[in-house]
Symmetry: C2
Subunit: 218 residues, 2 copies
């Protein structure tokens, strides 16, 4: 059960698996704090309400093997999961659009603990250009391509108004950005080789409001 019979760590990991792995990681971190040295998928299952066989399957993508009856070693599992998820490397990113949400993300230094470092931001607002926020310099959007030569950046965080979401996306890709973390409620179009993750806070709000309403609350 604990021993993945067919390690899959050279395969493309399914997105649902990648989304579940951080849950296991935070659970195992908690178990470590409680003094546990070993953890089984059954234990993680109890804590997370996810099927133990699903957990074993998900962990088969990660290069770690458990021992029968004992399970996975807690320290090793944390190290391997953090590495596998990319949280131990630093991935540099540019942020586009220092509005309310963009500014908030610049303030969130916690992202660094999960491998993301926003090294610079871009905007056209003359009140912002040339300033710093949380130690992060804000440049004029026109300087983006030049800055791509200065910084080693592959990720762009998109927090611009919807009117320019697509045109800024196109410019980011032209300039060499390989992955876009899209916080706008706009569905951007990109070539196939560009990685996109949509984090629509507004979509989550819509679901929450609707369900509250459905449950009889307003």
């Amino acid at each position: 059960m604990e021993q993945p019979s067919q390690p899959k760590y050279h395969q493309k990991v399914p997105e649902p698996t990648l989304r579940r792995l951080p849950w296991y990681l935070s659970n195992v971190k908690l178990l470590k704090q409680r003094g546990e040295r070993y953890v089984s998928s059954t234990q993680i299952s109890k804590e997370t309400n996810i099927d133990a066989s699903q957990i074993a399957k998900d962990l088969s993508y990660v290069n770690i093997s458990g021992r029968t009856r004992v399970g996975y070693e807690v320290d090793a599992l944390i190290d391997v999961l953090e590495g596998f998820l990319g949280f131990t490397d630093i991935h540099k990113a540019f942020l586009f659009g220092v509005g309310s949400l963009g500014g908030a993300l610049l303030q969130d230094s916690g992202l660094t603990h999960f491998g993301l470092e926003i090294v610079a931001a871009f905007d056209v607002n003359p009140d912002l250009v040339g300033k710093e926020l949380n130690g992060i310099p804000i440049y004029h959007s026109d300087d983006f391509v030049k800055m791509m030569q200065t910084y080693d950046v592959q990720i762009g965080v998109l927090t611009v108004p919807i009117e320019i979401a697509q045109s800024i996306t196109d410019k980011m890709i032209e300039g060499g950005i390989k992955a876009i973390w899209n916080f706008t409620p706009f569905r951007i179009r990109v070539p196939e080789y560009i990685v996109v993750q949509n984090t629509s806070l507004y979509a989550h709000l819509a679901v929450m409001f609707n369900r509250l309403n459905f449950n009889g609350y307003k």
Copy 2:
């Protein structure tokens, strides 16, 4: 095609539909800015890469009808969608845990335009309790139940460290919170009647890093 033959607006709306509707909304807003007065699902389809029949199906949950050959009236569609998604009502919320991410969310006044108003925050840090951030008061966590009587709040935003994510969740529910917007990487357990939306920035980062890596970038 445009005319939903069987309006479904008394049914429970599927979550994928609720997640797509904000995309249509931002697209239609753009079309309005470009001076369009009518929009068809075919047009929205071209802009969003979502199947036109899927769009018509999604819109059948919303109380609006299009006209053959003309489509939906842009102004009406925006109003109806915003209302349907709950963005025009104000939903008051408490935020729990004024760390890096929690503090950042308090700074993001943009959430108000989508119907969420964080009216107070809770923490135990003596440097924060009694202060304000972006005009939002920070109270001691012990005062939460008392504050539930002062404010009319149903939503709790969870941005605490994972070690206390479950215990704070339990307290929120005990105190009368009906919906939890969970930003922690921890999978919280709640009774069935409690609404939960998980926004795991870390899971999105994990997917992005993995895909970049798979595409040959680091």
